[in-house]
């Protein structure tokens, strides 16, 4: 039941925010924060209860809920949480706080409806991380799309209509291909067993011909590859991230991209282990290509948010490599990378948003010398840029090293090319700090530095990254049962030779 509450509370918080808008906006924002706080308590209590479980527990699920929904097709309302979904749920809530805080002064126009959409996206994302019925999963997958579209289309920047429609069409088309694959899988299973079911556990060991499996897997890869993004399918991302309001960018980069990675991890690989093994080399090459390509394009940007957006393409390349490298180290790395990228990129988008709110531009050519004006902002920018380039001691370093070590075992050339990504990241991250904050303040900018509220958000995100960087064991231990347990054979078990 707790799992259902997690989602319902967010939905209710969003509705409450919309209704309370007329009373006072502070109240409405408070409702969102309250909903998130309740969710945080629930997740932490689940986490603590999971901590005491023995390693060799029967099942990796920490909590589970299963109801009938549409029995005609064996569709159930089936939610479950293991270590990986727990970490991602926690990330969702943390970034939810960050997004609400980042919109505090930025969004004043129709703020009630904004928060409604924001909370509903978060609920959809949480649903994606928790559902274990393929129909339910697709339901949430599509559900998070509409409010995200509204966030971009109504509160976005100059080019918002174009960006929002592009985002919607890319995700919708690829999502429908995934639906076709889901249906194909269900009917293959039906022909083999005579039972209609959309349940993950039931479908896991569906016997099928190799070519069928490969075709069906591609449908899933299409949907997840667009979200991740996998390189040729990424073109919606820079537009959507750049045009979205700050809160929207945080959710997009921090969470929506993770749903793609999570989908590969939970569904595309375990459901079709044979096909995934065939596809793994291609996926790893695409991942490595994404690392380099994203880094090169990030370096070429003058728009601050676009730079961060392309750096996401680069960072998510590591996740792709990690998932398909097929050993536990790389998978642990991919999971850590998902968390750290969410925190770090979220922070960078908040900084970019804070800058834009003050100087009304994202163009780095018009910045420069801002450190004197806003030392706190500069320091924070430097910190998260260092996190992004993988400075030892911060989370991303651990994550990327784990991925590289794991990938080295699978394919030395891929690991070598991916390692170059660490160097290129250094170039664009430092370049960004250099151009925005160093040099001379030729334009004579003068504006207030980060407020207490903004500093609090930054501090929390920075401390979390520091914690993961110095003591990643907490997270690794949480995720490990999910990688080992016999019940949900995620990527590692599937790909082990």
């Amino acid at each position: 039941m707790t799992l259902l509450w997690l989602i319902v509370i967010l939905l209710a918080g969003g509705a409450a925010a919309w209704l309370l808008e007329r009373r006072s906006m502070v109240l409405a924002r408070g409702a969102c924060l309250l909903a998130l706080a309740i969710d945080l308590i629930l997740v932490v209590s689940l986490w603590l209860s999971a901590g005491g479980r023995p390693e060799a527990a029967e099942t990796a699920w920490i909590a589970e809920l299963r109801w009938d929904w549409i029995p005609r097709f064996g569709i159930g309302f089936h939610l479950a949480m293991d270590g990986i979904s727990l970490l991602l749920a926690a990330l969702t809530i943390v970034l939810g706080f960050a997004a609400v805080a980042a919109s505090w002064t930025e969004i004043s126009d129709r703020a009630g409806f904004f928060h409604f959409n924001l909370m509903w996206v978060l609920a959809g994302v949480l649903g994606v991380f928790l559902s274990l019925d393929l129909f339910l999963f697709y339901f949430f997958w599509e559900l998070m799309l509409v409010p995200m579209y509204f966030l971009i289309a109504i509160w976005g920047h100059e080019n918002r209509t174009y960006a929002s429609i592009k985002f919607f069409l890319f995700t919708q088309l690829s999502g429908l291909f995934m639906l076709l694959s889901i249906l194909g899988l269900v009917f293959v299973h039906y022909r083999a067993t005579g039972i209609y079911t959309f349940d993950y556990g039931e479908l896991l060991r569906t016997p099928m011909a190799r070519s069928t499996a490969f075709a069906l897997m591609l449908g899933f890869v299409a949907a997840f590859g667009v979200k991740l993004p996998m390189v040729p399918l990424h073109t919606w991302l820079p537009d959507a991230h750049t045009e979205a309001p700050t809160g929207g960018s945080v959710v997009l980069a921090g969470l929506l991209l993770k749903t793609g990675a999570y989908g590969l991890f939970r569904f595309a690989v375990p459901l079709f282990p044979e096909a995934a093994r065939l596809f793994a080399p291609a996926a790893m090459i695409l991942g490595a290509a994404g690392i380099i390509y994203g880094a090169v394009l990030a370096f070429a940007q003058t728009d601050l948010k676009r730079l961060v957006a392309y750096s996401s393409v680069s960072h998510m390349g590591f996740v792709l490599v990690g998932i398909y490298a097929g050993n536990e180290l790389a998978l642990q790395g991919a999971i850590l990378q998902m968390i750290c990228h969410g925190l770090g990129t979220g922070a960078l988008f908040i900084l970019a948003g804070a800058l834009q709110e003050r100087i009304h531009t994202r163009d780095m050519n018009r910045m420069g010398g801002l450190w004197e004006v806003c030392p706190r902002m500069g320091a924070m920018g430097l910190f998260f840029a260092l996190a992004s380039l993988g400075l030892p001691g911060l989370g991303n370093f651990v994550a990327e090293i784990l991925v590289l070590v794991g990938a080295y075992r699978a394919s030395i050339p891929v690991a070598a090319v991916s390692a170059v990504g660490l160097v290129t990241a250094t170039i664009y991250a430092l370049e960004m700090v250099q151009r925005a904050f160093h040099g001379k303040n030729v334009r004579g900018w003068k504006f207030p530095d980060l407020s207490v509220r903004e500093m609090a958000v930054m501090a929390v995100l920075a401390l979390l990254l520091l914690w993961i960087g110095l003591y990643p064991k907490t997270l690794l231990d949480t995720a490990r049962p999910a990688l080992h347990a016999p019940a949900p054979p995620v990527a590692t078990a599937a790909l082990r030779p």
């Binding site: 929904w69 005609r72 599509e142 509409v146 289309a153 919607f168 088309l173």
Partner: protein
Amino acid sequence: MNVDDMVALLPLIAVAAGSLAVMIAAAVRRSHRLAASLAGASLLVALALVPAASGFAPRNVTPLIAVDAYALFYMALVFGASFVVVLLAYGYLRARAEVREEFYLFLLLATLGAAVLAASRHFASFFLGLELLSVSLYAMIAYPRADANPLEAGVKYLVLAAASSAFLLFGMALVYARYGTMEFTAIGAALSLPGAGWDAYRLAGLALILTGVGFKLGVVPFHMWTPDVYEGAPAPVTAFVATVSKGAMFALLLRYVGTTWVYDSPSALTAIAAVAVVSMFAGNVLALLQENVKRILAYSSIAHMGYVLVALIAGAPLAGEAVTFYLVAYFITTLGAFGIVTVLSGPDRDADRIDDYRGLFWRRPWLGGFFSAALLSLAGMPLTAGFVGKFYVLAAGARAGIWFPLVVLVVTSTLGLFYYLRVIVAVYAREPANPVAPSPASPALPVAGAVALAGLAVLLIWLGVYPTPLLRLIRAAVASLALSA
């Protein structure tokens, strides 16, 4: 014909009696409210009699009419939709036409025709039902006869519908000439005999009948009338044309196709699949080019009929359920969308420009929210009935393994999303309306219309979240349908 037969026919009799009552009442005392209440009441009575009649189903009343669970389900759907149209039309006509009472007469007659179509098992009742529906529609479409657009639409519909009826009759005649019977089941029995191949009579007959049916459904290449009639007809009538007339035709098509072994002919299925594919393409692509909301919805309906045809050709075991569920979802959504158009229309013109909807959500949040929900349902997004409908169609197709039409469906419906989003962008636009084209003086929301819209909104979400009860009903209804694989 005995008493049991009469009871089974009661829903049809109630509507027929209602039309008489409206006619007599209009002769005695002209009162819009009275006529509308009589029409609404007779539809509700007919709806309430459906469960009573189902106690005596299935039975064939005369060789013409089959009252079975399937027919009764579609009758209930038709009556419900017509009732919504009565509610919408009441507020709409009050602000406009001078002579309003006869509209309800035509509406009831058209409903009767649609119900007969759903229950017909014989060419005679097929044709009678169709003509009853079409002739009433001519009058309904051109009802505001002082305006040019409705008149043009009415005449266009008249000419094309008459021509398509001729095709249909010729097709029936060919089948009759070959098999000597006009009963669907008897034709089916004759066809199941050994040696009954696909000769010229049978193929040509089927092709001509499909032409007549295709015209009513508005699928490519018989779709030419759709945008003009949708645009020209008064908004409540458009809602009726889009739902009741197409839905009843589909009910009949499914029954006819199932009983006459069309599923045994790959070439016939290929032809229907081709119609479906071009409808999906043409509907969705042409809708992109439109500026008028009614025309956008017209082209989108062409595409939607294509989706339903995809479910139809999937065949057993899921086609009946998928078609029926999709149509229910489509009825609710389309009535909702045209309901919004209706209540926003001013006395001088219908609210059919995209600019009329600019910023609607901020001016009237409930209407704007429901309109975007209806559009998202047409696009098949979750939480709405359209999502489950689209899922059902895809499931039926995947079960049958007809991947090509499914991929076309997926790709073209994504194209379709684009024009729904265009309207939604306008609904949520923050800029004030374009001052050059002032929106029609936003009329106050009529009570009847508000009730109808609220009911539709509840159904739209309910079916999107928990469709199981309706699925059970539909399964029971289509169980009797013969769909050979």
